[in-house]
Symmetry: C2
Subunit: 452 residues, 2 copies
Amino acid sequence: MQKVPPRTLSGFMELLPPQQNKMERMLEVLRETYSSYGFTPLDTPVIESAEVLLAKGGGETEKQIYRFTKGDSDLALRFDLTVPLAKYVAANYGQLSFPFRRYQIGKVYRGERAQRGRFREFYQADIDVIGDGKLDITNEAEIPAIIYDAFSRLGLKRFRIRVNNRKILNGFYAMNGMSEKAGEIMRTVDKLDKIGAEEVRQLLIEEIKMLPCKAENVMDFMAICGTNAEVLEALDRYRGMDRTFDTGLDELKAVTKYLKDFGVPEENFAIDLTIARGLDYYTGTVYETVMTEHPEIGSICSGGRYDDLAGYYTDKTLPGVGISIGLTRLFYVLNEQGLLSDELITAPCDALVLPMSEDLSFAISSAAALRRAGIRTQLFTEQKKFKAKMSYADRIGVPFTVIVGEDEIRDGVLSVKDMQSGEQSRFTPEEASGHIARIIAERQKCSVICEN
Amino acid sequence: MQKVPPRTLSGFMELLPPQQNKMERMLEVLRETYSSYGFTPLDTPVIESAEVLLAKGGGETEKQIYRFTKGDSDLALRFDLTVPLAKYVAANYGQLSFPFRRYQIGKVYRGERAQRGRFREFYQADIDVIGDGKLDITNEAEIPAIIYDAFSRLGLKRFRIRVNNRKILNGFYAMNGMSEKAGEIMRTVDKLDKIGAEEVRQLLIEEIKMLPCKAENVMDFMAICGTNAEVLEALDRYRGMDRTFDTGLDELKAVTKYLKDFGVPEENFAIDLTIARGLDYYTGTVYETVMTEHPEIGSICSGGRYDDLAGYYTDKTLPGVGISIGLTRLFYVLNEQGLLSDELITAPCDALVLPMSEDLSFAISSAAALRRAGIRTQLFTEQKKFKAKMSYADRIGVPFTVIVGEDEIRDGVLSVKDMQSGEQSRFTPEEASGHIARIIAERQKCSVICEN
């Protein structure tokens, strides 16, 4: 028979079991963290009508979209989780309570040029809070505080959530008579990290045709740095020249204060005036998150405040604030950098029960007892020699083997072997459950990310 | 601005928060159950190369497949989780340990004709055990035993796993000289539940052109029923006429015995000779599962034993046994029939903290304390009157509100209101955590399915 090579498309992540188990742990931590703050889970279709999905225009992503027909239907795969949220909230407005807090962790699709570390199918892990008509500023601090909590629970330490406010930028450009060029300027300034200040200055003058003194103003403004208090103080000097600027500064001060109230340490968040976020629907606070020792990978978690989530679907004004973790890329980078824990149990089970006699009754009831104690237990029933059974246990990396031979059945005990220490002891099924559960719980305490 | 109606495609399930929370509970129970038996989670792409996905030919599903091009690539959306598993095992053969036990819960796509209760995007929740060259018969009993456990944990009671063996059928047709027509006969017999014995008999004679006496043999065979012991006894009378039949009967006896050993009550599994499963890769034990009071909805969980998982990708012989729960359809039916619990907490949070003063510090630290106790806690920071806040609490159906006013801050306590009983008491944050956690845990004990 002619064989088809069993390949997976490039740009699509498919993991071996140990890695997949680490990914599952990350998904679980995110689900738990998001839930713990009162976000309701949402699950929208991967396929939507192209008309609905592209209502707003896909912008930069439009050419990357997977779009196709089936019968008479013009369909597309979702390219983010925000547009489906907008559709959902507009469609179900009357049945939702506002503020509506939802999380969604799901795969999205962008047919980008394939390159290492770039994915065409990737998980986004989003939270958004949507208000009906208005939404309090505290949400703009709680959202990054939740991300701080999520990353901390994952074990990530050296990251910084960079915060800015679009009103400050818009106000600054307005007070300098540069509003028309604001978009171009922001896109250029966005390259600061990559190409440096001198190149940016030149681009502003040569490509955007700014007067050198105006370009200087921009460069001075973008150079404002220091502690959050110092940056806010520097910004205060621009106060009184533009109303939008002043509002933005008030908001940024409030967000900075509340971030502290929410317990986010200053080393994990920083005001950064160079952050703008390309998407034109952000209207206030914006976020990007960098791994401080790996700035080269860009933002691992971004978002912001928008005044109008679903204007292309509904007349209702639905302001909101949201943030999205690019989970697949984050996982890829952590794995590449060796930052995923080796301590975590990644075997398919915690205990492997090895029956050595034909009668399986005691092995089966013992396995059930272990499971009741929360121990993931595999019953190994293949007809193999003892050595082959132990070699399977080694290969899957199971923490404990549980041997059930004629002797054990006669005495009503289990021979439990700790595969890490090599120690073997006989226990009743109840003792064995307690013993194994305790050690597993201890080993599972370590976090999935291990930055040391 | 011209609005686009925010519609979701027909045949795609999109749930409101309370229902989605029930669905999440089902997903969680399945993940936990599958994990508890030592199945490793797998996550394969939704999009595959069409050549890979259709290597074997799509069979009946081929015309339902979502297939499209992107650039030069001929792509398709997965229509089940078995073909991706075959690809995965063939591609990673050298890095996996066998028996390889994996679970996968994911969405699959079939562009079926839209009709009520039929979905084009739906979850399958699969487990499979794959052997390298061979695989013990006990697996064919453990798989349905795990499904019994999963359904029991979900709260489903009145279901029956119907078990048969393809070798018995093939052997029976061989001993009657009907092997060539076996496929047609099985497809006709499959309609027994729907159209009854008399119609089936007529179809066998008129459409399949069987001699009436041969049709009678088939009808007699298919009419064998009773307790499992009675059916096995009746089958023993056919023993000795065909080797395949005899092997199948031995297997069925072994599976029946082990199912008992695994603790599956006789009322939840039954030998049923009419089960064949259309898919031609099943070679031994086959399963279907019916809700005994809703036979009209067909099988909610099906699968079986196959001798060659991945023959179109690899020369390796990879026998396996697997089963798949059609989760989206099951959820739909349970919801329609009113069988999903009303007791389960489906609010986005367990406790809603309502700060009544400007300083949020105590409210924030109290919310954090509640979360540490495992209580899903939302902090409500919108500027609203007390009445509006309580009305929000009512609408989201939160079990507890936690009021933090000036008095509470002064005394370092929280006013906790049980929204079900209306009782309100003052507690320290630690006491409040214990009190709420206890009641929530009690309420969450109920299972998601409630058959009464």
